[in-house]
């Protein structure tokens, strides 16, 4: 019995993970064929998504009133961003609480579209509040407001956040 079990052990080690050879062969070709079809449907759905995105934007946020607000983190920032709140003309527009994955994505250079809405042409005020924690454990709770002009074209505002320890504001807003 010992040789039987040992042979089985070696077989398991060599061919591990153990699975039915017949099942693997049966599924191998089918999987490859299905895999191609799955890739095709992914491509189809991506095309639908892309077209739908453009349609949605045209319908909900026409270019003459469209305002998009983006959030990014300054280069090499390591502070923990917990949440951001946006006000447009004194009215709350949106707020976002960051997950670990989102924070990591921002730190790697990703840009989050935090708000898309409509405003009329002319001057407006955007208020930004960020809450977080510095590496040294100190809390960050900063607010700042900026005036921007909305023209006929879609407006994109980029908010750059930094967890500065000095009195200087860590919130910067730029036109794009």
């Amino acid at each position: 019995m010992s040789s039987l079990i040992r042979n089985l052990t070696l077989l398991l080690l060599v061919s591990s993970p153990a699975a039915s050879i017949v099942a693997q062969e049966l599924s191998g070709n089918d999987t490859r064929s299905l895999d191609g079809q799955v890739q095709e449907i992914k491509s189809d759905v991506l095309n639908i998504a892309s077209e739908l995105g453009v349609l949605e934007e045209r319908l909900l946020y026409p270019s003459n009133t469209q305002l998009a607000v983006f959030v990014s983190m300054a280069d090499d920032e390591t502070f923990r961003l917990d949440s951001v709140q946006i006000e447009i003309n004194g009215e709350p527009a949106t707020h976002h609480i960051y997950s670990f994955k989102e924070l990591e994505a921002l730190q790697k250079g990703g840009v989050q579209r935090i708000y898309t809405g409509n405003v009329v042409t002319g001057e407006h005020e955007i208020g930004v509040t960020m809450i977080g924690k510095l590496k040294n454990g100190k809390d960050v709770n900063q607010s700042n407001s900026f005036v921007f002009a909305k023209g006929v074209k879609p407006k994109a505002l980029g908010i750059t956040l930094a967890g500065q320890e000095s009195g200087k504001s860590g919130i910067q807003v730029g036109d794009w």
Partner: protein, 627 residues
């Protein structure tokens, strides 16, 4: 030794070749940054959707160089291929990356693209194509993928059955920070495949002693020791095998196999008591593991060899109970999978939000269908099939959500139509009136501007007379005309008076001309501002009027088309999910049936051995009881 596990390990390690999506330099396009935001979180569908749209819009521009994406277009097109690759769309990724390769791009980007193309071919088991892509790499190579390229090259050589070539590539990677441990192990395997037994043993010994605290490196170290120990065990060199098997960590992923082999090595050298130690540990571990199941039989076998028949019988009894319970569990799993519950459990979205969802799914109560999921996931085909199934389920969820959006869009368009349609005829009438007045004023304004410009070159004081002065002047000229036919003193005197008055008026007009021209110019400039405001309001109205129409006209056909496409896609996905799901169920059931067969076989052996142990225990007892 079979080559199967070694080519397999190459594939397994390939997962660590993935590089992070990134861009060089300062980000100038927010929408590209948004795609990266999704990609960095592993949401490649969303990243692709954003970036694909942006690149298409960019390509459609008349002057793309004025678009901010222009600064990143090479990176963006490259990232498209990268995201497609990560979203397991190898066909599209291959096309996108080939397009980058054939475009006029920087050497560094071209080399990166060639590497990624090689990876795609490797994953599709197209080794000759993978090698051709690697051969296109020439000149400056990004430092971040230099080792990845060498490691891939070695894996391709191994898969092509050219271990001697792989040895060269792997030797160069021995000091790599990223691949040191993996390269050390693969080098041992390459020697082995090349028939260099001694070099293979030395290299695997070295790979089994690399100092590291990285879990992946520690696992590969365990794997090296296990393979080395098993080779020696297989060659009948039991004494030599034991130290290598003992090097495998007790809490590592290969510990069960090592404990089992260690027991057999000790047993083969006649160290029966030493064999009991690893098997005793192993017999207490997770019973679904085949090594544990085997140890549950091996342990009483060792007791039997030590003539401890009573303990052997008890252990056989325990093994029998465990096997029986496990067979029941397997039966429940198989039945549950046949009822379709396996697929239902897999697509539970709330479960998959957790990164350890496979482990959680397995530990859920009342879910026998997922109890063996971890074991099933160890097969490559099952992994691919499962990932496809989950992707299809995600796509289906998105499409169903969009179908709801289509209804909302329709309603929105209808509401806008109902709101604007009755208002617009009146608004248009008013606008036509306003428009004609506006055009008149614009013409008048143009005329005044022209007059001012004329006055600057050819002064005409009478043009700047006030309305009263113009009336007086007209009256005087009228009097002069009437007096011209009379030749009397009174008429002469009247004519003189008229001329004096006219002269007085001309004097005023001439002397005040410059002052009046300045005032006229100032007023005209003021009018320019008013006209600009009026023009702005006019333009705003035109835009608002257009926006009103655009808010509900021209959506019907695109919405209908998208609705139809989404519906067709859902139907196609349902079909694919059914096929993919069925395939997963078949593979899962076959695997579980095979497990059940093995356990039943073990059970038969345990039952026989249990009876044998009782007999021997009884005989032994009888011998002891003999006077």
């Amino acid at each position: 030794m079979s080559r199967a596990p070694f080519s397999g390990i190459g594939l397994l390690l390939f997962a660590c070749l993935a590089t992070s999506p990134c861009i060089g330099g300062e980000l100038k396009d927010l929408y590209f940054g948004e795609a990266l935001f999704y990609a960095h979180q592993g949401h490649f569908f969303e990243a692709l959707e954003r970036l694909d749209t942006e690149v298409k819009l960019h390509d459609a521009l008349d002057e793309p160089e004025l678009d901010t994406l222009h600064y990143h277009i090479d990176d963006a097109e490259f990232s498209l291929g990268d995201f497609e690759l990560r979203y397991r769309m190898h066909h599209r990724a291959g096309r996108a990356i080939k397009a980058v390769l054939e475009g006029a791009v920087d050497e560094v980007i071209r080399n990166d693209a060639a590497y990624r193309l090689a990876r795609i071919h490797f994953q599709k088991s197209q080794m000759a194509d993978a090698m051709r892509a690697l051969e296109r790499i020439d000149g400056e190579i990004p430092a971040s993928i230099r080792d990845d390229i060498e490691f891939l090259r070695a894996n391709v050589y191994l898969a092509q059955g050219k271990p001697a070539d792989a040895v060269g590539a792997l030797k160069r990677l021995q000091d790599s920070d990223t691949f040191g441990g993996f390269a050390a192990y693969n080098l041992g395997i390459a020697y082995l495949q090349d028939g260099q037994q001694e070099a293979a043993l030395t290299q695997l010994d070295r790979a089994g002693q690399i100092a590291s605290d990285d879990p992946a490196e520690l696992a590969i170290m365990d794997k090296s020791n296990l393979v080395l120990g098993t080779m020696l065990l297989d060659a009948g060199e039991y004494d030599k095998a034991i130290p290598f098997l003992n090097r495998v960590r007790l809490d590592g992923p290969f510990s069960n196999q090592a404990l089992l082999s260690s027991g057999w090595a000790n047993m083969s050298t006649g160290e029966l008591e030493r064999a009991v130690v690893p098997w005793s540990i192993l017999a207490e571990r997770e019973v679904t593991d085949p090594a544990t199941q085997e140890a549950m039989l091996a342990l009483p076998y060792a007791y039997g060899q030590l003539s401890v028949y009573g303990r052997a019988a008890i252990s056989y009894g325990r093994a029998l109970d465990s096997f029986s319970a496990e067979v029941d569990k397997l039966n429940a799993s198989i039945e549950s999978i046949r009822e379709g519950k396996f697929l239902q459990a897999l697509v539970r979205e709330e479960i998959r939000k957790d990164k350890d969802w496979v482990i959680r799914l397995r530990s859920l109560p009342e879910t026998p269908e997922t109890y063996y999921l971890m074991e099933l996931l160890a097969t490559h085909d099952f992994q691919t099939g499962l990932q496809n199934y989950l992707d299809l389920a995600d796509l289906r969820r998105k499409l169903v959500a969009w179908q709801t959006s289509f209804d909302s869009f329709d309603e929105m368009v209808d509401i806008r139509y109902d709101h604007y349609e009755p208002l617009l005829p009146d608004v248009d009438n008013q606008f036509r009136e306003f428009d004609s007045r506006m055009r008149l004023r614009i013409e008048q304004h143009k005329m005044l501007v022209q007059r001012r410009d004329d006055l600057l070159t050819a002064p005409r004081p009478e043009f700047l007379a006030t309305p009263d002065e113009q009336a007086v002047l007209e009256q005087i000229e009228n009097i002069e005309t009437r007096l011209q036919g009379f030749d009397t003193l009174a008429a002469d005197s009247a004519m003189q008076r008229a001329r004096r008055l006219k002269g007085l008026l001309s004097w005023t007009l001439e002397t005040q001309y410059h002052e009046r021209l300045t005032t006229f110019d100032r007023n005209l400039r003021g009018l320019d501002e008013v006209m600009a405001v009026a023009q702005k309001q006019y333009d705003q109205y035109v835009r608002a009027r257009q926006a009103a129409t655009h808010s509900y006209v021209g959506y019907e056909k695109p919405i209908e088309r998208l609705r139809a496409q989404a519906g067709q896609a859902v139907d196609k996905i349902d079909l694919l999910m059914a096929r993919q799901g069925r395939l997963l169920e078949v593979v899962a059931i076959e695997e579980l049936v095979a497990r059940r067969g093995r356990l039943e076989n073990y059970g038969d052996k345990a039952r026989f051995a249990l009876a044998d142990s009782y007999d021997r225990a009884t005989q032994s007892q009888a011998r002891r009881d003999e006077p």
